[in-house]
Subunit: 359 residues, 4 copies
Amino acid sequence: MSSTYGILFKISTFGESHGPGIGVVIDGCPAGLTFDTDFIQHELDRRKPGQSRITTQRREADEFEVLSGVFEGQTQGTPISLLIRNTDQRSKDYGHIAEQFRPSHADYTYQTKYGSRDYRGGGRSSARETAARVAAGAVAKLLLAQQGVQIQAYVSQVGKLRLEKPYQELTLALAEENAVRCPDPETAERMFQYIDETRKRGDSIGGVVDCVITGVPAGWGEPVFDKLHAELGKAMLSINAVKGFEYGSGFAGAELYGSAHNDEFYTDADGHVRTKTNHSGGVQGGISNGEDIYFRTAFKPVATIMQDQDSVDVHGQPVTVSGKGRHDPCVVPRAVPIVESMAALVLADMFLRNKASRV
Amino acid sequence: MSSTYGILFKISTFGESHGPGIGVVIDGCPAGLTFDTDFIQHELDRRKPGQSRITTQRREADEFEVLSGVFEGQTQGTPISLLIRNTDQRSKDYGHIAEQFRPSHADYTYQTKYGSRDYRGGGRSSARETAARVAAGAVAKLLLAQQGVQIQAYVSQVGKLRLEKPYQELTLALAEENAVRCPDPETAERMFQYIDETRKRGDSIGGVVDCVITGVPAGWGEPVFDKLHAELGKAMLSINAVKGFEYGSGFAGAELYGSAHNDEFYTDADGHVRTKTNHSGGVQGGISNGEDIYFRTAFKPVATIMQDQDSVDVHGQPVTVSGKGRHDPCVVPRAVPIVESMAALVLADMFLRNKASRV
Amino acid sequence: MSSTYGILFKISTFGESHGPGIGVVIDGCPAGLTFDTDFIQHELDRRKPGQSRITTQRREADEFEVLSGVFEGQTQGTPISLLIRNTDQRSKDYGHIAEQFRPSHADYTYQTKYGSRDYRGGGRSSARETAARVAAGAVAKLLLAQQGVQIQAYVSQVGKLRLEKPYQELTLALAEENAVRCPDPETAERMFQYIDETRKRGDSIGGVVDCVITGVPAGWGEPVFDKLHAELGKAMLSINAVKGFEYGSGFAGAELYGSAHNDEFYTDADGHVRTKTNHSGGVQGGISNGEDIYFRTAFKPVATIMQDQDSVDVHGQPVTVSGKGRHDPCVVPRAVPIVESMAALVLADMFLRNKASRV
Amino acid sequence: MSSTYGILFKISTFGESHGPGIGVVIDGCPAGLTFDTDFIQHELDRRKPGQSRITTQRREADEFEVLSGVFEGQTQGTPISLLIRNTDQRSKDYGHIAEQFRPSHADYTYQTKYGSRDYRGGGRSSARETAARVAAGAVAKLLLAQQGVQIQAYVSQVGKLRLEKPYQELTLALAEENAVRCPDPETAERMFQYIDETRKRGDSIGGVVDCVITGVPAGWGEPVFDKLHAELGKAMLSINAVKGFEYGSGFAGAELYGSAHNDEFYTDADGHVRTKTNHSGGVQGGISNGEDIYFRTAFKPVATIMQDQDSVDVHGQPVTVSGKGRHDPCVVPRAVPIVESMAALVLADMFLRNKASRV
């Protein structure tokens, strides 16, 4: 088990879906940061269940308590601990899966690795764990905002339905105006219907979240192993249900010739070195180059569906797993703040690490 | 700078393209492993330049010296240090770029982050750095082979030319039979021509490497942050020129319904719990489930091309960068052993870490 | 700030003296350990204030809540989070030091490093932070007890009053029979009077805690930097008020000739390799050798005294710091469980790390 | 095995006593530091064997090669790799101990932990390993010198012979004027005779090294676990033969009352906050306070002696170990640069880590 992430801005998350609560300790947040509790709560609200009929109906207030690290409204350089109590636990809903392995969940692998598992709602493997990430990510965002860095993710694909426009042609803030978190209102409406129909059939559907980060100066990222995009990739892939990550030109870049792919440099009117194109996605050699950082994260369909499935029990005997409980028919709308949070955690760490680059 | 990777099987690489050499220290390789120098040299030979006319003509023997950690043919549990001397350095070829930023290279970002850079052949940002990864990866492979784990990567795409067959229908060992490292001979030949034509035009082209890992038992991987596929993703993204990573169903999985994507469990004739399909790519909840581990890595076209490009110099003034030096027109054939090596390093670390999972 | 310790058995502590609470996240405790809450509470009770008139009169129940990681009475391999609420906070007692630097406290250094500080009772620098260490250490002790490892510390010196007998001549369990935690009842009584007289004068006094660990097999410890005794030393020195650490022969060993100091080997009746003497303190070359591990930790007198002292305020102006609040006149009785806990954390980590030593 | 130390200024050492060489990779040295090879060689020369008749007669030039990380005389922010070839290996001298466990060496513990060992001269457990530490420490000293930090260690005790003067009354630079490295010439001469007589008897003797660090500003050190003195303690205890560490008042501080031990603050003529006394040894709450940092390290007598000793062989059978080979009769003269180097490595890391303390 490794629930710790980061070198200097380091977080340790804890908590199971149906235990007392979920939380995080942030060790290494610099002192002197104004701790905006309203903003943090706002971020948690963006992730919390029950926001619309296309998200899980589990009811959680997701209110957080600050256990340490903040004094007179400021961070102190000491560990910040945030706790979110679980309230709507309904453990009895999950008794039926105590002895079953749900297809494409982590039941079997946890049982095999650890010899037991908290089967209630997935326990530690539940996506509820991401609430702690969002709380910590919100603190990271506060730190980054001081540096002029802004992070905005949005839904670009649900199933086979894609938003074809590049992000430069979108008003990203519109993503927060609808339940799907797609910045194109017309596409958002179609995605909503797509998800809702999927939900009605008791099925689930995958999707893609795009993320754009502005304001990162050239110089963040620690090659050769902790390249900025490598850490972003790990962070995204560590989110439940993620199956793929690409940045800049991504997989499509593999189809291009170098003469088409290379980003030529020029000096802009303000004397800044810039690139004419951005196939690099804002990162060259693992270090930010001052352009927008852009990446995409693919999510599989949620494994919980309201249909019977073949499986085995803990004794290896065949069983039928019947869909029960509450779930999201499509995870990407709620994944948007999670993607942003993980990006913020990576960038906060890279910001601090970069301070040691030169004498 | 972070040139250290791994928690228990930890490597630190060093070296620049045109300095005295490239090397690695492996700290944490268990004692008692037979150190097969022939195998390690064989792996280095798979990566080394000059293998055919579609790879760079730089000539490097890439012979390695064992500086420590091996006694009487066995590892001792002490740090293993391997050194590969640079021989064909031709630094004068690179004098012209001392003051220029080559498009889509790391010249500009290194210069900005560190205030200077070893401009000879890219210095630390050169793909030559991966020789050290392959040397270390070969040691990891020796450790994994004892556990019955085999890793085989191959080229599945060059530019727009894709190998459409799934890996289950291929004889992967055939990948080593041709210069492209594509296991389908007919496709390999077409890829070779594709790359060679690109080379003749002074251009470069991207591609995709697929990787299949067999023999990993259920239980490897350390959620929630160090999920097996998240570490694989970081490891792949840390390789030069990589733009994307996906495992199992990958980006295509985002298009599917849960009812189609879920991998149902069954018990096989030997009493092992298996899945009927493998959209999970051998990893569920960040932990291996005993099925084949399968992932794909996208590489952009090599940034060095034999064509004039617009750029700026270190003073921000416009310049024309002219292609010189030696380079690979397509990186994926030589990337195959690098992908395997990084996968081996991840798995060796996860194998050791898993030993601490249970009392 | 670094409030994280350990590589595999990793803890992150949090909390200030007068904030909402103190706690710890344990990331990496193996699954399958019976979680004995009574034992953990018993350990906390050994450390808690108000145990006798020679310890601080602050009243804290020091009851802990398990927030995560335990299911059906067993650890799950997931992060274990333990929270101890602060109850007797009396912040108003500390308002007078908001602008003063108390001599030999951490007020000045925290203020300088972080630009601010939680001045209430020392904030993060308070010894109250050690409650979290004891909670985590108790879990580590449970893990170690399964391996047959027992840890027993005791007070061997208060001021100039020393217990002259070596540990082999003492019944260490008697340490828990008196308020001083000295296993020699007669010396304990004299120490009690010594401390009580010091207390009455409004002064404080230093002391030494010895620690004996039995049952560690040969092989634990990770040279060359993470030698077993080096990690024990770091762990002890990280406890508030510690000024020195020695193991085996310690500083006295510097006076000896090699011919007197060397521990000759022999094979005992059970066929075990043993040493005739134990100047090595159970550790050779940074690795346990199967003998008792023995070390000593020196504590300075508590900085809080009930006497006027010269100092400066946050503006550099001279002030008189007057003793107020509650404090321990001598820290060593309550330090005994803290020393044991830190030793347990080191050993638990080394136990797990050693699993990766050999193929 | 853990041969890696440091978080930001990270080193990985490698090499055995009688293998091809000893070396280190420094990952995280900032770019832009002038790399003074003469200074580094000078530091290695201070540690190397054969300096006088009271040090081992092994002959090693200890010349180092820079394998990476330096370009045009400057560090580049990339890993710096330094290699020192072994030249005077005489492995045949050690064949007799292949099957024996030398008393108070690491033979038995390495054999037990790893299942084998490189017995030639102690292999990895040889003090020769410290050459790599001194090379890395010299680079750290270059970084620290830029910050105005100076480190000076000296021999304060050999066996029962102590230098009674406090460091403030000594001219520390005189330590380099004699073979013992004691800054008091008269005491140095007596120590030399003491060691030489010990040598003639085929015995060895322990000693103590004191260290004084000037110029560290207030604010370095990372509580609560990575307190400055805790890291210094770990670093010293990781050196071969070290048995104890104390800083400031140390073990003697345990005898004092708080009213005598507390360091009162005042503001000096330059407006700096200072302490009247320095029982704190320059560190309060784990953070430097701007005063001199002062600590002491105790070394046991070298385990190799020219006398017969009882022991057992690898089969547990009784044997007589006869002294052969070359050794130091007293380690402390050569330990002086090693102590300084480890202190420099700790401080360089803390200097860089402190950059992330505040927004």
